[in-house]
């Protein structure tokens, strides 16, 4: 039977140093193989670690490249959006100019011809025999109707009051028209002078209010409508309030049914010029739409 030899202090110290040395070599990846009783295992910890570091560096590089690509793509998208906004703005101006030109042409040609014809016909009717007078009266009435339709069309295309007298008088005229045609009471409150507004901004506000009044006429079943203009420091607030049946404003965010394209379009246009658009409504309690635009103070 074999008995273990008792080790001297020096031998124990040497073994301890050896063990510490072995642990150090393993920890520092300075070992290539582990020798087993029957086989040898090759250890490539350092290579594995280096490969891992290389893969990590590569990944980081790819992330940086991808981020750069995305940033460039975002910049490109932003520049496209700016171009699109600018084009939309230009398109709106062109559209407005064309409307004014058509309205002017309609007034100067068809309108004038109709007015002239009516005047001539009226004189002719006075000198005409009795049996023709009644027929001529009917034609005169037809001409009156055509003149009115032309005037309405001219007004709808481009309200001359807007450019000659300003936004508030044009809105008053609009309110009168709606009151007359739709049967609700409509009035405009607020100062006559709304502050410096570009023609483009005046036109945008006028058409926005008109769109709101069309909506009131179509859906609200209102009896009273108030258009309030309120100048607050650098902004102009215009509110259109009715006492109609109201609705759930959630339909406007696209989740509900029948979200009005007109309202969304107005909102988009106002936001584009640095303004805001809010709708407050509740079933049975009417609707208040507020439009805010910055006033051009130069």
């Amino acid at each position: 039977m074999m008995t273990a030899r008792k080790l001297s202090y020096e031998e124990l110290e040497a073994r301890l140093l050896e063990t510490e040395n072995l642990i150090g070599a393993l920890r520092n990846h300075e070992v290539d193989v582990i020798v087993g009783d029957e086989q040898i295992a090759v250890v490539r910890l350092r290579q594995a670690q280096e490969a891992l570091e290389r893969a990590r560096d590569e990944l980081e590089q790819r992330v940086v490249e991808r981020t750069t690509e995305l940033t460039e793509a975002r910049r490109f998208a932003e520049s496209i959006k700016e171009q699109l906004d600018s084009l939309t703005e230009e398109l709106m101006m062109v559209e407005e100019r064309q409307r004014r030109q058509i309205a002017q042409a309609l007034h100067d040609t068809v309108g004038q011809s109709l007015a002239f014809s009516k005047r001539e016909l009226a004189q002719l009717r006075q000198r005409s025999p009795d049996d023709m007078r009644e027929r001529l009266q009917e034609v005169c009435q037809q001409l009156d109707e055509a003149i009115k339709q032309t005037r309405d069309l001219t007004f709808e295309l481009s309200p001359s009051t807007l450019y000659s007298l300003g936004l508030q008088p044009a809105l008053e005229e609009l309110a009168e028209q709606f009151a007359e045609s739709e049967g609700f009471r409509c009035r405009v409150l607020g100062p006559r002078e709304c502050g410096p507004l570009s023609e483009q901004m005046q036109s945008l506000l006028y058409r926005s209010v008109r769109e709101m009044l069309v909506n009131v006429a179509k859906h609200a079943e209102a009896r009273n409508v108030e258009i309030t203009l309120d100048r607050r420091e650098r902004d102009l607030h215009i509110a259109v309030q009715d006492d109609g049946k109201g609705f759930d404003p959630a339909v406007l965010d696209g989740r509900g049914k029948g979200g009005g394209f007109g309202i969304l379009s107005v909102r988009e246009r106002l936001v584009r010029v640095g303004g805001a658009f809010t709708v407050e409504s509740q079933a049975g309690k009417g609707t208040r739409v507020t439009m805010v635009v910055p006033v051009n103070l130069g």
């Binding site: 040497a14 050896e18 040395n21 072995l22 150090g24 070599a25 393993l26 520092n28 990846h29 300075e30 070992v31 290539d32 193989v33 582990i34 020798v35 009783d37 040898i40 090759v42 250890v43 490539r44 350092r46 290579q47």
Partner: protein, 112 residues
């Protein structure tokens, strides 16, 4: 496999004053694995610089035959067994830490 290192030179005269007569060394390596290759180069340099012809180095490749490693109770490579008289010291690792090898050889550090 065995190798003799170094011809007599006087450039390390200061350190050779403490050198014992002879070092019998056995370096266990695994072919040309990175640490084994480093260990061979490092040991060759240490022998040339500090031991001149007062040593004998046998290089044992465990990938060819590992029985000797088992006999010597060597569990990992690279491993250097240094025999000086009755004393047996083992140094593990790639031997790039020269001071550690010199300490095992009982020779002063390079930095002192």
């Amino acid at each position: 496999m065995s190798a003799r290192t170094g011809k007599g030179q006087n450039r390390n005269a200061k350190r050779t004053a403490e050198k014992p007569a002879f070092y019998d060394m056995r370096l266990f390596v695994a072919g040309d694995e990175p640490n084994s290759a480093l260990a061979k180069t490092s040991l060759q340099r240490i022998c040339a610089a500090h031991l001149e012809d007062h040593c004998r180095v046998e290089i044992v490749d465990v990938l060819k035959d590992f029985r000797l490693a088992l006999q010597e109770n060597i569990l990992v490579t690279p491993a250097l067994i240094i025999r000086r008289g009755q004393t047996r010291t083992v140094v593990f690792g790639n031997l790039t830490n020269v001071d550690r090898v010199l300490a095992a050889l009982n020779i002063g550090s390079e930095s002192t």
